[in-house]
């Protein structure tokens, strides 16, 4: 439904360039990138707030590049709710040009804000305010909903609440959405596809699974989670990490190259496994054990190269992992991703 061709936006010295970008009807796209990479500028270009130097933006085949923001029918939600402070919630919801009372009542019911309608924004909690701002945006029946890090100011409980809310909105109102975030989990959670943006360029668009498992380059790999990069050397038809032989998922026709493996794809064992289907067993020594809130991070040195491995609390306690201990790192050949 949304197609962008050869877009270029300049803001001072910063240049945003997007050669081609598409959003399908009902699709949810997350745009992930570090601060200053151009995520917000990209949204603002779609909404019509940043003038285009070059390129075209099309909605359902119609060129809207020259239209002012108020004629685009693109709703935007920011980190803060930006509710108009001098209007009640009800008046805020009815503010949009295409908003009508019946639809607003319907949305207010779905978003659980029906009992807040007579209140002023300064009488609401941060979570309630953001709910109202989402409702206000939906009330205009936008062609697409843009969200610029909308959950940044919410506490973890509210965030969880909003995740289900956003899913519900998608299902109830069937509108395409673009979410801009620097939070990997948030980006992966909702998205049909994730676009990675770096220094004003989109460097990868794919499904969350493919981006995590088969990233296009090391930047994408690093940005979509923790990653181990292993320098591999080919000797004859065999592949080595240092002096340790490695089994790869496929044949490679280069002498030196880098493969990636995610920390969650590696298992730690205190003895060499005898009957494992995993074809790689690397002997190493634990350098560091760092407890975390979700998983424990263990650093293991294998022939001069340090690998990060994630393990659960239960495994850590069972194996009684300590720095200096000798362990085996076990992983499948298919867990390795070879960069082109």
């Amino acid at each position: 439904m949304l197609r962008i061709e050869g877009l270029e936006v300049r803001k001072g010295n910063f240049i945003l360039q997007v050669d081609h970008f598409e959003v399908q009807t009902h699709e949810f796209i997350s745009i992930l990138g570090p601060s200053g990479s151009g995520k917000t500028t990209f949204l603002e270009a779609i909404a019509g707030f940043s003038p285009l130097k070059k390129g075209k933006i099309l909605f359902y085949g119609n060129d809207i590049t020259g239209l002012p923001p108020w004629e685009r029918n693109v709703a935007i939600i920011y980190q803060e709710a930006y509710l108009f402070p001098h209007f009640t919630v009800w008046k805020n919801l009815l503010y949009g040009k295409r908003a009508c009372a019946d639809f607003v009542r319907n949305i207010a019911g779905k978003l659980n804000i029906s009992d807040l309608l007579d209140r002023f924004p300064n009488e609401l909690s941060a979570g309630q305010r953001q709910r109202v701002s989402i409702a206000r945006a939906i009330a205009t029946r936008p062609l697409i909903l843009l969200m610029d890090e909308p959950f940044n100011f919410l506490d973890p409980i509210n965030k969880e609440d909003f995740r289900s809310l956003v899913k519900e909105i998608r299902e109830s109102f069937l509108m395409p959405m673009i979410l801009v975030t620097h939070d990997l989990e948030e980006a992966l959670y909702y998205a049909d596809r994730v676009a990675i943006i770096r220094e004003g360029k989109i460097v990868g668009v794919d499904t969350p699974y493919s981006l995590v498992k088969r990233p296009e380059d090391d930047f994408v790999a690093q940005f979509t989670g923790r990653a181990n990069f292993l320098p591999i050397e080919k000797k004859g038809e065999r592949y080595f990490l240092g002096s340790v032989e490695i089994n790869l998922p496929e044949r490679v026709n280069r002498d030196r190259f880098v493969v990636m493996i995610r920390p969650q794809d590696i298992i730690i064992s205190d003895a060499e496994p005898q009957h494992s289907s995993a074809r790689n067993h690397l002997k190493g020594r634990i350098v560091e054990v760092r407890p975390g809130s979700k998983v424990n991070e263990v650093k293991v040195e294998v022939d001069g190269i340090t690998l990060v491995v994630f393990i659960t609390d239960a495994s850590r306690e069972e194996l009684n992992l300590q720095p200096g201990m000798e362990v085996y790192l076990v992983f499948k050949a298919t867990a390795l991703h070879i960069f082109d």
């Binding site: 923001p69 930006y82 108009f84 040009k97 300064n122 701002s133 945006a137």
Partner: protein, 261 residues
């Protein structure tokens, strides 16, 4: 050291407050009730008060009409030579008021092209309330513009973006969102400029000695009859302008608070 500093601050503040309030307080109690009530029934004087209040009010409305767009541009837009425009707008504060009056008279007077055009339209500036309003507007506009500009510049741009994205154009957004959000500054600016206009003497006297404003009346009275006979009139002007000024301020603050700025 710290206590010494606090002491100095307290001492100088007390001195400053004494300097600002005592002359006014002493003036209020300077006149006898008889001469006060005599002055308050003086028809000529009441006429000048009416001219002052009406002119100041028209001047504030004029400043509201022309000053608000300037404030908006200065607060919201970036363009070359903006700094120069900012200085130009503030300039009337620095110009001696008699000089402001001469500038207004020279520009809008009968001999100037603008004055001739106004004359054809039947509008007279010299010796007319129009001239008084123009002179008052000239000296009071910077106070209004500064206040509204400050109010507009603290409204985050995202409010505009959100309003646009909800399908509302520039004018709608300006009148329904941006201006209401800056209304406390708008009222403050109006009150300041109204007070400034009401108290104007120099520029007004140059442009229009007649119809006489209260300030010119008091000056004339002082010149011809001396300070003692002027005191009751001065007290009335003081109580009226001060009283109205304070009342407006209180009312506007209340209104702004009630509407949740």
């Amino acid at each position: 050291m710290k206590r010494g500093f606090d002491l100095w601050i307290a001492l100088l503040s007390a001195l400053g407050l004494f300097f600002l309030t005592m002359p006014v307080l002493v003036l209020i109690f300077s006149t006898s009730p008889e001469s006060f009530f005599f002055a308050i029934r003086d028809r000529e004087f009441l006429g000048t008060l009416k001219v002052s209040i009406l002119s100041a009010t028209f001047s504030s409305l004029f400043v509201l009409l022309l000053g608000t767009p300037i404030s908006y541009i200065l607060a919201r837009k970036t363009f070359p030579l903006k700094g120069i425009l900012e200085h130009l707008v503030d300039l009337p504060i620095a110009i001696p008021h008699s000089v402001s009056g001469i500038a207004i008279l020279y520009f809008f007077g009968r001999t100037s092209p603008v004055g001739q055009m106004l004359n054809i339209m039947g509008i007279k500036v010299y010796g007319d309330m129009v001239g008084i309003v123009l002179a008052m507007s000239f000296v009071s506009a910077p106070y209004y513009i500064a206040s509204v500009k400050e109010g507009l510049s603290v409204v985050p741009r995202e409010y505009e973006s959100v309003s646009y994205s909800l399908g509302r154009g520039r004018a709608f957004t300006f009148f329904r969102v941006i201006l209401p959000m800056a209304r406390s500054h708008l009222f403050k600016g109006l009150i300041l400029s109204w007070g400034r206009a009401l108290s104007e003497f120099g520029a007004v006297m140059v442009v229009a000695y007649y119809p006489m404003t209260a300030t010119v009346f008091i000056y004339e009275r002082l010149e011809s009859l001396g300070i003692k006979s002027t005191l009751p009139y001065a007290v009335i002007v003081l109580l009226l302008s001060g009283g109205l000024f304070v009342t407006f301020r209180v009312l506007c603050c209340r209104y702004a608070q009630n509407r949740r700025s």
